[in-house]
């Protein structure tokens, strides 16, 4: 039927690498007019990169993107060709009101020499009427509800009459009813011939709304199927890497006394969550992006203040909302984003290593003891096999893996009883990954309790004694890695039942 016509969107031979790290490798994709394609994939499968390239924000290393047969170049090119993206963060300017956001980057209607704000306001009200009719127009959008904000971002996208519309987890902060309203809009667009890429973590939406499901895994499209021809479990199986020669499950470690107790811990979008970690135990935490994995660690580690609940370390309650209190109690946290949460780029390797234990490394008057610092440098470079030119080398000159080892060394210098590691092997080379994993095993063997968040489910399965699955901020499952595989873990992450 649509054979003769060029599809609304055609992606061919797309390849992209950040440095030597390949994120997309030969992706082909075709979306005809008037179809909604769901884009599924584990964290790190390459979804975000694909979206960035299609929306023109990122130039691919190789391959091309065509809209109705015309090639694209850059954001302006993508806009001109009718590719419009509603990002997960919506891209609104918080301090402007609905109308000002609607007209961001577009000319206002004019009357003579002047902008006609009254007309712009009427137009905004009309555009929002179908989506979120009671949206106040005269307040900064920061004060509006999630659904109203989503409506503004969506209305703005629709104004541009998109040929290809990319919706990146649009329902992440919407209720069931609000989601239905959004679906109505999507269906109407489909009738009008818009091609839609719909990125979601919610399996039910795929089956309710989409014409096709595209599954990304290991940098490629591994499946492009009709929902009617598949089911949620089969999709999860497609997303799961089933590499041959996966590490065999480890024998169980003897668990000691409880070292970390988390009791009804509640944060902004997490909890209440309760669990315990024993000495010598590695607890893995799995969950999709936005499931609250990182926030859970930040609450325990004192970076964020909890709203309710308690953290105990070695039987004693830890004062919430203070990393210092947590460290003093024996809980150390390595954050998810190395550049943002860990590295002081203007400092040397030595300064970055010392940062967590300045008090111990200085004498009575707060005077830094150079000899102690150098001893720490020697100890950690040997223990973690950090490759650095010397203690004074700027940290930014090290590879990602070695930077991560420096951060781990910083944390180990505080002699923690509980180690919280958020994506400890993200963005490091294979050798460093292996070194970090064996270090985690060693620490547990020496009696520490370790909590690891990782998107690499294979890593979690080979590393952990227990895997906690978080869904929408709640503890959804507590799995034994010896009885689970990547498929079961991911299925639970998508809210599947046992």
């Amino acid at each position: 039927m649509k054979v003769a016509k060029s599809p609304a969107l055609r992606v061919t031979g797309l390849r992209h690498a950040y440095g030597r790290h390949i994120v997309l490798d030969g992706v082909d994709l075709e979306i005809p007019e008037g179809e909604v394609h769901a884009l599924l994939g584990e964290n790190g499968a390459g979804k975000s990169t694909l979206i960035k390239i299609v929306s023109g924000a990122l130039r691919p290393s190789a391959g091309k993107v065509e809209v109705h047969g015309r090639g694209l170049a850059g954001v302006a090119g993508a806009r001109g060709a009718g590719v419009v993206t509603v990002h997960q963060n919506l891209g609104l300017v918080d301090d402007l009101d609905a109308m000002e956001n609607m007209y961001l980057g577009r000319p206002y209607p004019r009357r003579g020499l002047f902008t006609d704000r009254a007309a712009a306001r009427r137009h905004t009200a009309d555009a929002l009427a179908a989506l979120a009719p009671s949206t106040p127009l005269d307040v900064p959008v920061r004060l509006l509800s999630p659904v109203q904000r989503t409506a503004i971002a969506l209305a703005r996208a629709l104004e541009q009459e998109p040929a290809v519309l990319i919706l990146d987890e649009p329902t992440a902060s919407l209720t069931a009813h609000e989601t239905e309203v959004l679906f109505g809009v999507v269906r109407e667009l489909r009738e009008r011939g818009t091609a839609i890429i719909y990125v979601t973590h919610r399996m039910a939406e795929v089956f309710e709304l989409c014409d096709r499901v595209v599954v990304l895994r290991d940098r490629r499209v591994v499946a492009r199927v009709r929902p009617a021809e598949t089911d949620p479990d089969a999709l999860v199986a497609l997303m799961t890497a089933t590499e041959a020669g996966q590490a065999p499950p480890r024998p169980p470690r003897p668990a000691g006394e409880v070292v970390l107790g988390v009791d009804g811990l509640t944060g902004h979008r997490v909890g209440p969550i309760s669990f315990e970690v024993a000495r010598g135990q590695v607890v893995g935490v799995a969950g999709l992006g936005g499931s609250g994995r990182s926030e859970l660690l930040r609450l325990i580690g004192g970076v964020q203040r909890s709203r309710a609940g308690q953290v105990r370390c070695g039987g004693r309650a830890v004062r919430p909302g203070s990393t210092r209190a947590a460290l003093t109690a024996g809980i150390a946290l390595v954050g998810e984003d190395r550049q943002r949460h860990s590295i002081v780029a203007s400092g040397s390797v030595r300064e970055n290593l010392s940062l967590g234990s300045l008090t111990a490394l200085s004498g009575g008057a707060g005077l830094m003891r150079r000899r102690r610092e150098l001893a720490l440098y020697e100890e950690m470079t040997t223990l973690l096999q950090i490759r650095a030119a010397g203690p004074e080398q700027p940290i930014g000159e090290l590879s990602g893996g070695n930077q991560q080892k420096v951060v781990l060394g910083r944390v180990l210098a505080t002699r923690p009883q509980v180690l919280l590691l958020d994506e400890p092997t993200a963005g490091v080379d294979v050798a460093a990954k292996q070194a970090i994993r064996s270090l985690i095993g060693d620490l547990a063997a020496r009696g520490a309790g370790v909590v690891v968040v990782s998107s690499d489910l294979g890593e979690l399965l080979s590393l952990a004694d227990r895997i906690l699955v978080l869904v929408d901020g709640r503890l959804a499952a507590d799995l034994d890695p010896r009885e689970a595989d990547e498929y079961t873990v991911l299925r639970r992450c998508y809210g599947g039942s046992a």
Binding site: S346, S354, T359
Partner: protein, 316 residues
């Protein structure tokens, strides 16, 4: 950038403040060969920049935590006025000096509290205290200059123990103490870490709020000390005497940044910046350049030096 410092050509390492300073010295020596290099002139130059050096070193601490303090000039003026009024009222010199410095500490606490705990931007907070302090100084003096300060107070700024101006000795001491704090103590590490990446510092267990607060306390105390010395040197307290120190202290830190390898504020670089500004001022005076033109030239120097440090920052 992965090359180490030793691999850079010597000229590149000398770029920025050191090179500019050498160029200025050469220029003025050639143009006024008898007057500029004269020991008397150089001693005069040092005495002249000592007060700025103290404020700039204090400002360096605040800028090391990636904030800045616009109120240092107003604090210096206010501190001079407070000391003068107390001395006139018959307080002993020691007590008046201590009270003025304590005032500076309190101002620093207020600035630090506004910035670190109420989350006001450093710009808004210190602009507000600057404005309020300027009003306070004018109120306490009725807008006029206070004369008749006792002789032992004047020794602070005008005394010459062993032939060296006391202000220069005090400035050297302050510079040494702040250098020591920044580069040899745990507190210095905290300042630099918070300035480099406040979020990473928090993850590493550093109390970011306290660290920023303490930096403002140092700048408040330093500015107050500078204000005292200024009043003593001038043998009078004027309600706006210290005001120009704000811009020049920030300029000195920026010029100093062009000299540092790690592109973070440091006392050595800042003092170099102070000397650059001092030599420029002194040399242009000797050449009878219109003081208004001097101001324009100072502005140009700041733009050029900051531009240089930006370019280098991008390369690395």
């Amino acid at each position: 950038m992965t090359t180490d410092a030793g691999a850079r050509p010597a000229l590149r390492r000398l770029s920025g403040a050191p090179l500019g300073l050498l160029a200025l010295i050469a220029l003025f020596t050639i143009l006024r060969p008898t007057v500029f290099p004269d020991p008397g002139n150089l001693s005069n130059l040092l005495e002249h920049i000592a007060v700025l050096a103290i404020v700039a070193c204090a400002q360096t601490v605040v800028m090391a935590v990636a904030d800045f303090d616009l109120s240092v000039g107003a604090t210096a003026s206010f501190s001079g006025v407070i000391a003068a009024q107390l001395l006139i009222a018959g307080w002993p010199t020691i007590a008046a000096v201590a009270a003025a410095i304590a005032t500076g500490v309190v101002i620093g606490l207020v600035n630090g509290w506004l910035v670190a705990y109420l989350n006001l931007s450093a710009f808004v907070a210190t602009l507000a205290t600057m404005t309020a302090l300027a009003g306070g100084s004018l109120l306490l003096t009725d807008g006029s200059t206070i004369f008749g300060l006792p002789g032992d107070f004047l020794l602070l700024g005008q005394g010459r123990p062993l032939g060296v101006p006391a202000v220069v000795l005090i400035a050297i001491t302050v510079g040494a103490v702040i250098w020591f704090l920044l580069s040899r103590t745990a507190q210095g590490r905290r300042w630099h870490a918070v300035g480099g990446n406040a979020e990473a510092a928090a993850y590493a267990g550093i109390d970011v709020g306290r660290t920023r607060l303490l930096a403002f306390v140092v700048s408040g105390a330093g500015a107050a000390l500078a204000g005292l010395l200024l009043a003593s040197r001038l043998a009078s307290a004027h309600p706006t005497a210290g005001d120009p120190l704000m811009l020049t202290s920030i300029a000195a830190v920026f010029i100093g940044l062009t000299a540092a390898q790690a592109a973070r504020p440091g006392v050595v670089g800042t003092l170099l910046g102070v000397v650059v500004l001092g030599v420029l001022d002194n040399g242009l005076n000797l050449l009878d350049v219109n003081p208004y033109v001097q101001q324009i030239l100072t502005g140009l120097i700041i733009v050029v030096s900051v531009g240089l440090s930006r370019r280098r920052g991008r390369r690395s």
